[in-house]
């Protein structure tokens, strides 16, 4: 498991030395959410009603933004060949890269989401549900995204293709994530929806690394 940890630490170190990529994701998230009050107008009631959906959809799109690079850099400089030739199974190394992607791209979004939710007048009672739904939902987004990123390794225009492949699979995560926060905003229990999000995570945690590793091996042939 030495190798798994090494991959995680290397990816974090690379992101730390070139922070532009993860900053872009956060800036995209902030700017797009801020566009909504400007486009729709400042009526508190309208903003309040769309706030949950806007924060979740924009977080989801921001996650999508950084997927293109997930395996591409390593494929282009030959590192991915060496990953596949490590005595440790490629599936574990993929899982490690997904975890790094989540820490680099999704965690900053989660941290900043309450501020943006506040700017859309989301009720404060819904904040714990917002944070827990994002914490449970975004790892699933990274996992599903890894399948898309691996499948499009051979393609030149991977960016758009990943979106088309991955967005339909993101729908359940979006539905349960938004439902959890909506329930909390109306004073209802968010737990059932959060459990379903946890179920999705439990489903993709083993499935996604296996599928992504298979796609990578296919791309290497």
């Amino acid at each position: 498991m030495n190798a798994v940890l090494a991959v995680l630490l290397r990816d974090l170190r690379l992101a730390w030395r070139a922070p532009g990529d993860s900053l872009n994701v956060v800036l995209f998230f902030v700017l797009t959410v801020v566009l909504f009050p400007l486009g729709i107008g400042p009526e508190i009631e309208t903003l309040q009603r769309i706030s949950v959906g806007v924060v979740w959809v924009m977080a989801l799109l921001a996650c999508l933004l950084s997927l293109d690079r997930l395996f591409r850099d390593d494929a282009e400089d030959g590192s991915l060949d060496l990953f596949a030739l490590s005595p440790v199974a490629l599936e574990f190394l993929v899982l490690s890269k997904v975890l790094a992607h989540w820490l680099i791209s999704a965690v900053p979004l989660i941290v900043i989401s309450p501020v943006l939710a506040l700017s859309l007048h989301m009720p404060v009672e819904a904040f714990p549900a917002l944070l827990s739904s994002l914490l449970l939902g975004t790892p699933t987004l990274s996992l599903i995204g890894a399948i898309g990123a691996a499948l499009t390794l051979g393609s030149r225009k991977a960016g758009v293709l990943i979106g088309l492949l991955v967005l339909p699979l993101y729908i359940p995560v979006l539905i349960f994530g938004v439902a959890a926060v909506d329930a909390a905003a109306q004073g209802l229990p968010a737990q059932p929806h959060l459990l379903l999000l946890g179920g999705l995570l439990a489903l993709f945690l083993p499935v996604a690394p296996v599928a992504a590793a298979a796609a990578i091996r296919q791309a290497q042939q």
């Binding site: 170190r13 030395r17 282009e76 400089d77 030959g78 030739l85 440790v88």
Partner: protein
Amino acid sequence: MADPDQFVAADLACIRGERFVFSKLRFTLSNGDALALVGPNGAGKSSLLRLLAGLLPASDGKLTWNGAPVGDEPDAHRARLHYLGHLDAVKPALTPLESLAFHAQLRGEMPGATALKTALDALGIAGLADLPGRFLSQGQRRRAALARLRATSARLWLLDEPTLGLDADALVRLADLIDTHRSQGGIVIVATHGGLDLGPHTTLELGTARNAGMAA
């Protein structure tokens, strides 16, 4: 030799894009042997090396290590080989030292700082150990990649044109590296267009006749 190894290819074939790259290819290698793959561009040298590494499935034929098909235990096969392709896998943001440590850990090994420095020194780039990869020249990046051979142990080296971008000094260092590896019982298979002094070795010519890779 304490543990005689034998790496045998029997009637290997590789089909790429519905076309035979090579077929009926066979060789037998044991401890200390070196095999040079020669042939024109597109003869299948890189394909053969990727196939031997397990990155590419063989269309036909058998590949065995000490009598056991390598496909039966892919993890064990990966653990005993070093593959060096055309790409250096040196990250612009990482120093050669960090890169080397990472690739050693990827192979499940944990060499100390001195062992890593020794490996870089063997390739003549100990002075660049802490310089980020983006400041290295092509030849220096190649040397950093070659240092991986020295930093961790593997019985079987698969080198795809390791001389790309190397100067005369680096060529001598690489030849030394290969020599030491062979004297310790290692096996080397190298695709080359010349320029590398391999010492006594067998040659496998690819692409001379479309359907007959000659066995050495």
